[in-house]
């Protein structure tokens, strides 16, 4: 690592932790110290970690609601249109708009669209698929999918300073603080 890389090509600084509790405590302290641009990387979902790093805007449930409503109206609309407009047939004197009979399909369409939105919406909001990310450059990061917990303070943070932030993270973690190169 040359000195030029350190200053110009830094994505952030990364601290490593052994347990989710250590990481959670460190994330709280980092947020309290005024850092905002950060992310944590964990092998399991850790309860409260999103709050700790200041992540609040979770729009997944809103998207799923909208997807479900689209499926619901679309499914009902399709059957209504088929049986009263496109192919209106008198079957044994039943009303054209026999809406009770449309409920099963309407329900299935609601679930289908809501589920598709949940999965594709979630991945889209997460920015996945994304094959490359700077954090993968840290060799120890391979354990983020195994048994280690990471906290990365990003260089875009206004308060970020390569030396002072490093000192700050070193006090939180018992491991070496790693530089994350872009």
């Amino acid at each position: 690592m040359s000195a030029i890389q350190k200053t110009t090509r830094l994505h952030g600084l990364m601290a490593e932790f052994k347990t989710p509790e250590d990481l959670l405590a460190a994330a709280h302290k980092t947020y309290a110290a005024g850092y905002r641009d950060m992310d944590a990387y964990t092998p399991i979902p850790v309860e409260g970690l999103g709050d700790a790093i200041g992540f609040k805007k979770n729009y997944v449930s809103l998207a799923v609601l909208l997807g479900g409503l689209t499926g619901c109206s679309g499914g009902f609309g399709l059957l209504y249109w088929i049986s009263t407009i496109a192919y209106a047939h008198n079957v044994a004197g039943r009303p054209m708009n026999s809406w009770v009979m449309y409920i099963p399909v309407t329900f299935e369409c609601t679930v289908l669209l809501a589920a598709l939105t949940a999965v594709f919406g979630m991945f889209a909001m997460n920015g996945l698929p994304q094959p490359y990310h700077p954090v993968f450059n840290v060799p120890e990061f391979a354990r983020a999918t195994r048994d280690r917990f990471f906290l990365c303070v990003e260089a875009t943070d206004p308060q970020f300073d390569a030396e002072r932030t490093r000192e700050f993270l070193r006090e939180l973690s018992s491991f070496e603080v790693a530089e994350v190169e872009n």
Partner: protein
């Protein structure tokens, strides 16, 4: 290759079943559960259990039988099957309903037990979801083959066509198309969403370049970001919430195929709940049938423990009792209705030409599973395995009795008939067993069959409970 062997040889705690009280064997931490589960797809073929090869070979041979049967069917038409008037729905519909039902346990385990926060769900959910997918694939084949001209199966869907014809929205057969295709899609989504973080585990564990690239693509670049986990968990929870009514609706709609008609033996309001209970019943039986040999072959006794097996057998007992209630209500109502046709239908079901199968059905589905009241039986693995096979057979007989026996005595004696399955009926049915088991055995060998990150959550949870799990991750 050396490094690969080194990685595979990292010491693991012994595969000891911790008994009926714990969902995880002693000595596990984040690292060891990861290695234990992810080593199976990475292990070289020479280290694959011998039994797996025999099981795969058996399934593969039966799969060829399916291909032969399907080819001959496409060549000759459905005249090669035993279906005729009055029994126009034979094995194809029996097998369709049976397979769809088997799939239901997967969704029940992954969705409903997640919402109910059952800790014994975790080690078997991925496995059962895969079972759902493959069972639905087998189920989906039958209506398509039964159309006689499967290349025109897309006519089932509402799509703009030059004849401006549309399917009938008031028919349960159209509802079925929507229910089954939605169910298949949502099951795939649920399964793949669960797999993404585990593919990332595989990517980071892989030592060969092609494996790294393959799992890198499959993992979509998952990096375990806290923000991603927040959205991921919300999406997963919502999927579970959506799948719960979905799974209940699917077999309800399947039962509507029968219940909406006016045929004695089909036209009853108890069909939806009793079909759903029967579906879960047979599904849990299939989970046990597959999980018991798999955990032995791959030495997973410490992750799929007696607690999982016993809990599954309790669900079997419970749903089996609902099914028993369904049978008795059917019998009671057909007598109480005072309707000649209803009474004759039930009497004929018990004592008619197919009466033997009704007796077998009661024996398999109601009498034998009562053994599960005994704790000794629930904790005996051979007994559970045998009972699960018995229930699978019983549920297949139930569908046979409902479909064939209700049809073969029409309202007028002049239109009575019999249904005899031909060799092609059997070949198609046995063939789908081959398709199902082939896919299942390939899955357990090449994909992480247990949700790695969810088992790690169990490890974390157990550490907090200060159970006999080692306190922290090894270095």
């Amino acid at each position: 290759m050396k490094t690969e062997d080194e990685l595979l040889d990292r010491p693991l705690p012994p595969s000891i079943d911790p008994g009926p009280d714990s969902v995880l064997g002693p000595g596990h931490n984040f690292g060891t559960v990861t290695d234990k589960i992810a080593n199976i797809p990475f292990s070289p073929l020479r280290k694959t259990p011998k039994q797996w090869f025999f099981a795969l070979a058996a399934g593969f041979v039966l799969l060829q039988l399916l291909l032969v049967a399907a080819t001959y069917l496409f060549y000759k038409g459905i005249g090669i099957w035993g279906v005729d008037i009055p029994v126009g729905w034979g094995f194809a519909i029996v097998n369709f309903v049976w397979w769809i039902g088997i799939g239901h346990a997967g969704t029940l385990i992954s969705a409903i037990l997640l919402l109910l926060k059952q800790d014994w769900r975790t080690s078997i959910n991925r496995f059962s979801e895969a079972m759902t997918l493959f069972a639905v694939a087998c189920a989906g084949l039958f209506p398509v083959l039964h159309t006689g001209r499967p290349w025109l199966a897309y006519w089932l869907l509402p799509y703009p066509n030059s004849m401006w014809l549309w399917p009938q929205p008031r028919s349960p057969l159209l509802w079925d198309v929507f229910a089954v295709s939605t169910y298949a899609t949502v099951s795939v989504l649920f399964w793949l969403t669960g797999l993404v973080p585990d593919f990332a585990v595989m990517r980071d564990k892989a030592v060969n370049r092609w494996q790294q690239v393959l799992f890198g693509i499959l993992s979509l670049g998952w990096r375990g970001s806290a923000k991603h986990w927040e959205r991921y968990q919300m999406a997963y929870l919502l999927l579970a919430g959506l799948s719960t009514p979905l799974v209940l609706s699917v077999h309800t709609v399947v039962s509507f195929d029968f219940a909406i008609s006016i045929l004695p033996g089909w036209h009853t309001t108890i069909f939806p709940p009793y079909f759903v209970a029967g579906a879960v019943y047979s599904g849990f039986a299939m989970v046990l049938t597959l999980a018991i040999p798999t955990r032995k072959w791959f030495h997973l006794e410490d992750i799929i423990t007696l607690r999982h097996l016993e809990s599954a057998s309790k669900v079997m007992l419970g749903t089996g009792l609902i099914v028993a209630y369904g049978y008795s209500m059917e019998a009671f109502i057909s007598w109480y209705s005072g309707n000649t046709y209803e009474r004759f239908m039930y009497w004929n079901r018990m004592t008619g030409p197919y009466g033997f199968f009704y007796g077998m059905l009661i024996l398999c589905n109601i009498a034998i599973p009562q053994l599960l009241w005994s704790q000794k039986v629930r904790r005996s693995i051979p007994a559970l395995f045998i009972i699960s096979l018995v229930v699978n057979m019983g549920m297949w007989l139930e569908r046979f009795v409902i479909v064939v026996v209700s049809l073969h005595r029409d309202f007028l004696p002049s239109s009575w008939g019999m249904y005899y399955p031909t060799v092609w009926d059997w070949a198609t049915f046995v063939g789908t067993l081959g398709l199902f088991t082939t896919l299942m055995w390939l899955f357990v060998r090449f994909v992480p069959m247990i949700a790695i990150f969810e088992v790690r959550e169990v490890v974390h949870h157990l550490e907090h409970q200060k159970l006999e799990v080692s306190p922290s991750a090894g270095d």
